[in-house]
Symmetry: D2
Subunit: 362 residues, 4 copies
């Protein structure tokens, strides 16, 4: 059961309610003016207690803050140069790794020209083997930041551990949490505490519910600036694609959560010549952003050589993605219809006026 | 090694070559004017033998007749009302099962109005449990045929066993082979012998190579009228979708094979509200057809109640799919580029003039 | 709901009950003195109707004849030389394919000496590619039969299509249904009609419920001589093993069904040096039989070269499997405990006296 | 290529070799007296350089320190009360979570009596939802330590983040790295630096190579006190078991690595009545330890209620596991045979005398 209190919160009644619930051995979590109670769907409140309650949702949630029930409207994640989510399509592009200063400047200019508004690039790289190239570290971050600033782009880059958050946070606009760290709960809580935008990648065999619970760890620290990234799941046939892009996850997530959904077609396929068709598929399914690996000379790349696009290939991808997205007045309408099916109108209203996490957390 | 002989075939030299190969303990298969030799990449031919050979391909094939190496150009499967494949988008729609005479007539009219040109409907139904509704059988086939004829549509329906092929073949334009029968080799060979169009569904955990080898069983009987259907693969998370649509299979198949690729978004998702986004994704990735379940009153359907669209929902899907497809002058170009990467131009030329399975097998 | 009638069946009351159910639009299947009703858990019977009913099980069954609820005691499949199931451990061994007359005689003698009592060998081979060796056909069957008879062994061999059943049935004691045909429903029904023993292999990505429903297709034709074969399932890592042996399926199946469970460690792993540890694991988990590929000279085999054992390796495997099995007074006890947890004692009693499919269907 | 230097290391020649390799643009990693060079299989050494080299292994390694090529003999992980690995079978048991002081003392006494020599118990719990019980933390660790000491047991407990390592390390003998953290590389390196025993759980969809590379991250910090835990992998059928125990991973790992292999049948199945058969299967396949959840009153457990055994059930499991293990003089022999196939005898000899990571790292 989710109890939504009237604002401003009456602390005295709240304390009274918490005491009543505790006495009945119920377990609850307070998030702003919402009290989430996990082990019951009903409670016999006194009249005085009821007077402080705006709304009661009786469904038992699998996750709370990430759900459409909690926040029916799309979350828009605001960065210096972008509003990610809703009806926008945000293109994020750049090399797998920042390899040196010159290359990242040239790639930044090229992806900007092609329509990207976020620059990606790895400085701390998670590698399966400890002997593989692990990235340039802070040096790479400075190059990445300068290249982005020079071209009016936001930065997205991966953070791999709690210790690195401060350092990485100085240079990036968006923290990327990698697929292997999707359930690294200490890291999730730590980026949650920063209140900075986070792009959370789905784990290789993570269910949709596990992905949304991972987002919940971030949101439970008061950080709603979350976008979810589908980057391919592990399957039985690795002959022609590295992973299988679960394009169905896009409309499923739109039904369940208000957070923006981004597609990473580069890691989903692992082959440059498959990236554009899958990017197109992702946008057609309703994705609100693309995260694409672009390199000046993919064959010479220090990592992910097979899957990076040239700037020219990315420019074509961007054009095609934009065209499909523009068709989708249709998509936007349909998505709204999907959401309406899950959320009742009045709920919409009361909720919107009472708590808007976008406003509260910027 | 694939040996392509000049036409007309010089039977005497052919016999000589076969004898030479046999003497060297090599194993070969003759398909029209192609001899596929599986256990060697080279052979020391005499000058006289060489004089009958148009071209030699030295790569060891995983499959032959299904490959772009064997036939670089797209196969177009011709039916009374359609040319399936190439740059065309063919919409196939209708109920999971033919439930009675009236319903199939009404659905046929509705899907025709919405843009479909093939009517689907199950008469012999493969069901997990022997106690579930197994279809109306031949009675259902007659209704299906009449409803299609009345509306100028082709028929596609499943055939489940060798014994049923004659009966089903009298009523249908396209045999559907279900996912569970993808490696029922006797059935594949038997529909191969009919030379009628076949829609081969990918098995629930079939690899791409297994799918193409299953097509090879059909083609090895001289039947090139094959289309391949991606209908979702089995994965680890069945909470929100029945299967995972492997949209990446579309461009992968376009690289490897000349056969048309169809998407079945209904079985891929199992939920009506996800069918349209996944149909759009499939078309954006380059699919040349859609196979969609449509029912007048899905909630009352005798099978697959959750995943069938209403005629109105299908009409919207059709409009959106067509729009995305029309954008794809871009797709067509790109697909050509993909194919070119795999096939050299001269190969293209010589091959095209020498053997065109479309012409030979109609 | 499963209605168990008193014996002898009162045909008049039965007709009356069927009419009442039909009038209420319920759908039922009569199996011996059991009426399985799929669409309701309760029914308002008249007193006269109740007088003919021995027992009512209100749970909605996913499958009926295959379930412990229908038959609490283990099924023992009787063949000329074996009683498969219950507390017995049956070793089945032989080459992947019968390659010629001499080899199968020598292998038969060797596996007999090592403790096997069933001879396996493929004569009709399902192969992924139509160009691979497809087996010797009927010629292979005659060699297999002679080699088995000479050594006092039963024969198990695969049947791939309805048309082959008569021919194969003349030579074999046990029909093997391959993993690719697990949901070839026409084939299942056809071997069901023979009433001969059938070894049903689990499909590459078949769920336990799908496997049991496939068995149900066979049993629904009155054939209870079924054994279930776990042979590895498809998974995400094919680097070191061809498939993943789902050893947990053994105790799960013992809870759900009365049919014997056999392990095929050869196809599960694909590598000879892993076959023995997995055979041991299967027996330790409670498997009632092993199906193992053995070849005189594995490196020269025409198919499955990598996974066949030499006769000497098989002899070691057999010794170890027998020792683990003998330990398992413990297993037998525990299995009984598992079954008891699922089946109530009185059910046990009444059921046992009323219907014993072993007796009825031999 | 792996270069093994004679001992004591001639620093001057080493410097010279490193310079030569660098000049030729090769990339190497020095581990004790081994230099691992990743990008070439051969090198043209001078005579003087050769004089310092004891042995050259030319195979390109996927991982080094974890491989049998690097260390042919089994690693024995020594703890105060155990020698884990080799021919020993170590039983580790205890509750999912330490819930209070009394319960852990009673469970410790019970599992000790049944044959366990390591006490497990979660104090910091990784939970899918941030709102689930997260463990007692340091308070739980103190109870766990006291209960173990009172009964002469070692402690194993999970560490979830770099920050917790010092605190957890004061109380535990073995760090457990959970499946979700298998590729949390910062955590792996940090436990590597402690040189304390680590039980590394395989990720839900981690390949064998990924598991061994994760171990490599720990070993690369000089910590060889590693055991690998197979705890079930994610698959397509979650109806009857939570995961699928990949029992084939046991002999595969014995071929590839010298580290001990432990089976966790509790998480593999998720159901108490399946734990014992799978524990037996794991031991029969050659596992050197079992990690089993045991609770006084499973139905009342704060987490994992369905899968914990009672002490009485665990006692039976322990007896059966020991019996199967004792049979396995056979197993031990066979494992030796497997290892021999991968490692040449002389390699064995020279290696053993030159570097024994067990001796160096205790």
């Amino acid at each position: 059961m989710i109890i939504q209190f009237k604002k401003p919160l009456d602390q005295e009644i709240l304390t009274d309610i918490l005491a009543s619930l505790k006495q009945a051995h119920h377990h609850g979590v307070l998030v702003e003016n919402h009290l989430v109670v996990f082990d019951t769907d009903t409670f016999d409140f006194t009249e005085r207690q009821k007077s402080a309650i705006a709304r009661l949702e009786s469904k038992q949630p699998r996750y709370v803050l990430s759900s459409r029930a909690f926040k029916p409207n799309d979350t828009i994640v605001k960065t210096p140069h972008n509003q990610i989510g809703g009806h926008n399509l945000t293109l994020m592009a750049g090399p797998c790794s920042v390899e040196n200063e010159e290359m990242i400047h040239r790639v930044a200019a090229a992806v900007k020209a092609a329509g990207a508004s976020v620059l990606r690039g790895g400085a701390f790289k998670p590698r399966t083997s400890p002997y593989d190239f692990q990235g340039l570290g802070v040096e790479g971050l400075t190059y990445l930041r300068e290249a982005a600033d020079e071209n009016g782009l936001d930065v997205i880059t991966e953070v791999m551990s709690v210790e690195e958050i401060d350092a990485v946070g100085q240079y990036t606009d968006i923290f990327q949490i990698g697929a292997r760290n999707m359930q690294n709960y200490e890291l999730l809580k730590a980026v949650g505490r920063t209140h900075q935008p986070v792009a959370l990648k789905r784990g290789l065999s993570a269910t949709i519910d596990e992905l949304l619970n991972a987002a919940e760890y971030i949101a439970s620290q008061g950080n709603f600036n979350i976008m979810l990234v589908e980057r391919g799941i592990r399957s039985f046939d690795g002959t022609y694609t590295r992973n299988v892009l679960d394009v169905g996850a896009v409309p499923v997530l739109h039904q369940l959560t208000h957070f923006p959904v981004i597609i990473d077609p580069s890691h989903a396929t692992g082959h440059a010549d498959l990236v554009t068709p899958l990017a197109a598929a992702g946008v057609a399914a309703g994705a609100q952003g693309l995260l694409v690996e672009v390199h000046e000379n993919p064959a010479q790349a220090l990592s992910d050589a097979a899957q990076q696009l040239t700037p020219a290939q990315f420019a074509k991808l961007a054009t095609r993605a934009q065209k499909i997205h523009e068709l989708d007045g249709a998509i936007a309408e349909e998505k709204k219809a999907i959401v309406k099916a899950a959320v009742s109108e009045d709920n919409h209203e009361s909720h919107h006026s009472a708590t808007n996490p976008d406003e509260n957390h910027d």
